[in-house]
């Protein structure tokens, strides 16, 4: 024990030292950034320097040519990330043809601004003067035009790489509603959102994260609805991220979430532009990360996991019914195995007599205690699911079928597992798919409750549930209480919880999120049958 403590202490010290080192390092690097190395006048020197920096990569193309009055230039670009035809048509062609057209004018075109203004027929052109900028630009798909006898370079927006087309998302399929989903390209994603919300108030701010990956990350929100403090907080947390790589929005999520050790995620994600747009319109902010179709949105509340964009497109009765079914399914998926264990091992008096007979009959000769059975079946189910997801589709199906047969049929006939347990596990498994946003927390809770139930029955389950409840009640996501409309009760916002009120009745935004500009729409929008006058008019028309 003591040695363990000593080890801990030593580790602490080590951490402190490392931390101090980090501080120093960061200081130096910042110092370095403040004075970037400037381009020199000579093209040759510049090219050598650039070759030294990125030249020996096979996808870097350095094309040297001259135009006009033997002005030597070099075009540097990455072959895979640029639009080749654009380079040919809009950069090379005008430059080259310039030399033939009007000889006397070309002589004057030494000035880089002139080239930019008169020759290049491309939308985005920047002027850079340091190596760092050039390299960064080149790596993000811009073409760099270096001129001899000029200490500035032009970065031309030729960015274009292969990306997936907008497709229907696999994770959130709908019956009614738009079928488009985000793609891996940030630009496409922002476009998809912009197309939903064509308001000048929609702000999309971008920043680069990851010292090596230099991933573009955008924050999208609506100015005037979103709480400015929220946006500030998001920026603060994003700027805190000092890492070398951001490969997926999951990286960002784990860096910015409020409760890193909670089993409940405090950052929501979605693949559907309409869902994200709706969230933005409620006053949330979306965080888009380049390279992934999963867009984050904060703050997240628990209820969000039970909402689906389709709820709002279908009529309120059915939507409310489906909502309540989702809640039911979530509770089944968490409590079914543990309740079964508690009932069969501690509280047999709570089972109705005829049911007890058949359950006891099925359990006769089964060697394992019910807790063991529940845990075993839970694990087997998770294995089967994982195998089904990872394997290629045809093989995955075969695995599922074999697994289901083996467990569902053979294990019961062999007397290894009671048939009721199989039913309970199957029910749990099916229900756990209903609320997919909480499936990770659901799995952990399920196992915990099974263990608690096996230990001290219903008392264990209730105590555990109280613990989860305390945890949920104390959880906040970017300042918003996690159980938001329920636990700090806000009666007005209960319209979008278990019951989904008609759209015309939800005339305010959620109190804890978008209270900055509370009114969503006019108060009296409930449709009513046409008044007498209009009826008369209609008749007259007919």
């Amino acid at each position: 024990m003591i040695s363990y403590i000593l080890k801990k202490l030593r580790y602490l010290k080590l951490l402190n030292v490392n931390y101090a080192d980090d501080q120093k390092k960061q200081g130096t690097s910042e110092y370095g950034q403040s004075t970037p190395i400037k381009l020199s006048q000579s093209l040759e020197k510049n090219l050598i320097a650039i070759r030294n920096l990125i030249g020996n990569n096979f996808d870097v193309i350095i094309r040297e040519f001259s135009f006009g009055d033997h002005i030597n230039v070099a075009l540097i670009f990455l072959s895979g990330m640029t639009d080749q035809s654009m380079i040919n048509e809009n950069i090379m062609k005008p430059l080259m043809s310039e030399s033939h057209s009007s000889q006397n004018e070309t002589l004057k075109i030494k000035d880089i601004a002139q080239i930019k203004a008169r020759i290049l027929s491309v939308g985005g052109v920047n002027q850079y003067s340091s190596y760092d900028e050039i390299i960064d630009g080149c790596l993000s798909g811009q073409s760099i035009l270096l001129l001899d006898e000029c200490n500035e370079a032009l970065a031309i927006m030729t960015t274009n790489w292969k990306s997936r087309a907008v497709e229907e998302p696999k994770t959130e399929s709908v019956v009614r509603g738009p079928r488009e989903g985000f793609t891996e390209s940030l630009l496409t994603n922002t476009t998809l959102i912009r197309r939903k919300i064509m308001s000048p108030d929609l702000k999309i701010e971008s920043m680069k994260l990851g010292s090596r990956t230099k991933t573009n990350v955008c924050i999208a929100y609506i100015q005037g609805i979103a709480n400015p403090l929220l946006i500030e907080e998001i920026k603060r947390r994003l700027n805190r991220i000092k890492t070398d790589s951001i490969l997926e929005s999951g990286y960002v999520e784990q860096f910015i979430e409020d409760a890193p050790f909670s089993i409940f995620s405090t950052v929501a994600n979605s693949e559907k532009p309409d869902a994200v747009a709706a969230k933005i319109l409620e006053g949330r902010a979306a965080i888009l990360v380049d390279g992934t179709p999963f867009v984050l949105s904060v703050p997240m509340v628990l209820i969000e996991s039970f909402q689906s964009s389709e709820d709002y497109y279908s009529r309120p009765f059915f939507a409310s019914l489906i909502r309540s079914i989702r809640f039911l399914a979530y509770f089944i998926s968490i409590f079914a195995p543990s309740s079964y264990v508690a009932l069969t091992t501690f509280h047999q008096e709570l089972i109705p007599t005829p049911l007890l007979f058949s359950m006891a009959g099925a359990q006769e000769g089964v060697p394992f205690p019910a807790v063991m059975e529940a845990i075993m079946m839970g694990i087997i189910f998770e294995i089967l699911r994982e195998a089904g997801v990872r394997l290629p589709r045809p093989v995955g199906q075969a695995v599922s079928i074999v697994g289901a047969l083996v467990i569902g049929e053979s294990a019961v006939t062999a007397g290894l597992i009671g048939a009721p347990m199989v039913i309970v596990v199957a029910l749990t498994a099916v229900s756990s798919f209903v609320v997919s946003a909480q499936s990770d927390s659901g799995g952990v809770l399920r196992i915990t409750f099974v263990i608690l139930a096996g230990f001290i029955g219903i008392y264990g389950i209730v105590i555990g549930q109280l613990g989860v409840f305390i945890h949920l009640a104390s959880l906040r996501s970017f300042g918003t209480p996690y159980l938001s409309p329920l636990a700090p009760l806000s009666i007005r916002d209960l319209k979008d919880t278990i019951i989904r009120a008609p759209i015309w009745a939800m005339f305010t935004r959620p109190r804890t999120i978008g209270w900055h500009d509370p009114e969503r729409q006019e108060f009296r929008l409930k449709p009513s049958s046409p008044s007498e006058e209009t009826k008369e008019q209609n008749k007259a028309v007919r």
């Binding site: 509280h347 109705p352 001290i456 029955g457 219903i458 613990g467 305390i470």
Partner: protein, 360 residues
């Protein structure tokens, strides 16, 4: 220096008080022994008598906005005598925490796990309450709404399901007990749930709307009182004289639910409702104890005290010999003992406040 940074709304305060009173549904059995089938009368009498007392507490709390019971004690009785009074209150609260732990353990031992050592149940319960207390009063208050609604739902459902087992002649003859017993019953009812709202003098300072405090607390008392009344009426009407001899009338009454062999054996609901509402009660007392200690000793945070106080509470509960001895104390001596804390001291405080025209 503020130990608690949370803020609770008036509706949360109301439900917290309601849940707090509901947390004593189990201990209704003490008054039941004294008043038999007239328990409901004693309950109403106790509720009526505790309303003015609650007003006394609220008036005191509102005279000193932002200050809780112990700070008020300091202001009223002076720094030294005030500390002594506060110390006594802390001891009382600690004892209530430990006795409630014992009640919970005792109940689950009797009805669900007769062979389990009581300490396991108490530790688990204390653990969850400690967790809640560490999270702060704001979190407990947030939870209260759902817990209270759940308890009310259970009480109402079982009431409706038992309607055709009820015999309202069980209440006859009304007032069939000696007046001595009735006074004792009322006293017990006041001592165990209703006057304990004095604890909310520790919570009221954190309410965000001081104007609504009075109505919230009184409505909360009514919520708790009405739930208790529903439960008492259900038990007496269903069980009749049998309710006088069983340990937990609620449990036995709910056991009798049998609707077409489908809706039956629901007694787990009683147990669940009990843990949920007792959690609120114990947490509030627990919170007041640790907050009071931290204040008395001028600490910067009450959080480190939570676990040691919890363990002391459990060990104190374990010093009880049997539930029979415990029942004796709760029925015969404790109600009188508590009068000084719940009636005498607050009234003296109010008097001193009026005479010395505090706060200056």
């Amino acid at each position: 220096m503020k130990l608690e940074k949370g803020e609770i709304s008036s509706s949360q305060l109301m439900f917290l008080v309601g849940g707090f009173i509901q947390g004593s549904l189990l201990t209704l059995a003490f008054a039941k022994d004294a008043t038999k089938h007239d328990l409901w009368l004693a309950l109403i009498a106790a509720l009526m008598m505790s309303l003015p007392l609650a007003l006394v507490y609220i008036t005191l709390a509102l005279k000193f906005p932002g200050q809780n019971l112990f700070q008020i004690n300091d202001a009223v009785f002076g720094p030294y005598l005030g500390k002594l009074v506060s110390f006594q209150y802390i001891m009382l609260f600690l004892m209530i925490v430990s006795s409630n732990l014992w009640f919970a353990g005792d109940f689950f031992l009797t009805f669900f796990f007769p062979e389990t050592p009581i300490i396991v149940i108490m530790i688990m319960f204390a653990f969850i309450c400690a967790w809640g207390v560490r999270a702060g009063i704001e979190v407990i208050a947030r939870m209260s709404i759902i817990l209270v609604l759940f308890t009310i739902l259970i009480a109402l459902t079982t009431f409706i399901l038992l309607l055709n087992e009820m015999k309202f002649s069980n209440f006859l003859p009304i007032f069939d007990i000696p007046i001595h017993d009735f006074i004792q019953g009322t006293n017990i009812m006041m001592a165990i749930p209703f006057n304990e709202v004095i604890i909310f003098m520790m919570v009221i300072p954190y309410a965000n709307k001081m104007k609504q405090v009075k109505t919230s607390v009184l409505y909360g008392l009514m919520i708790g009182g009405i739930t208790s009344l529903i439960v008492v009426i259900r038990n007496t009407a269903v069980l009749g004289p049998l309710a006088d001899i069983v340990v937990s009338p609620s449990m036995e009454a709910v056991r009798l639910i049998d609707l077409g062999e489908i809706i039956e054996r629901l007694e787990a609901l009683v147990g669940i409702g009990l843990i949920l509402s007792m959690f609120l009660k114990v947490s509030v007392f627990y919170y007041a104890t640790v907050l009071g200690m931290a204040q008395l000793l001028k600490l910067r945070s009450y959080v480190p005290l939570v676990i040691p106080v919890g363990i002391i509470g459990i060990t104190l509960a374990l010093t009880n010999e049997s539930s029979i001895q415990f029942t004796y104390t709760a029925m015969n001596t404790y109600p009188i003992f508590s009068l000084s804390f719940y009636i005498v001291l607050p009234l003296i405080s109010l008097l001193i406040v009026k005479i010395r025209k505090l706060p200056k």
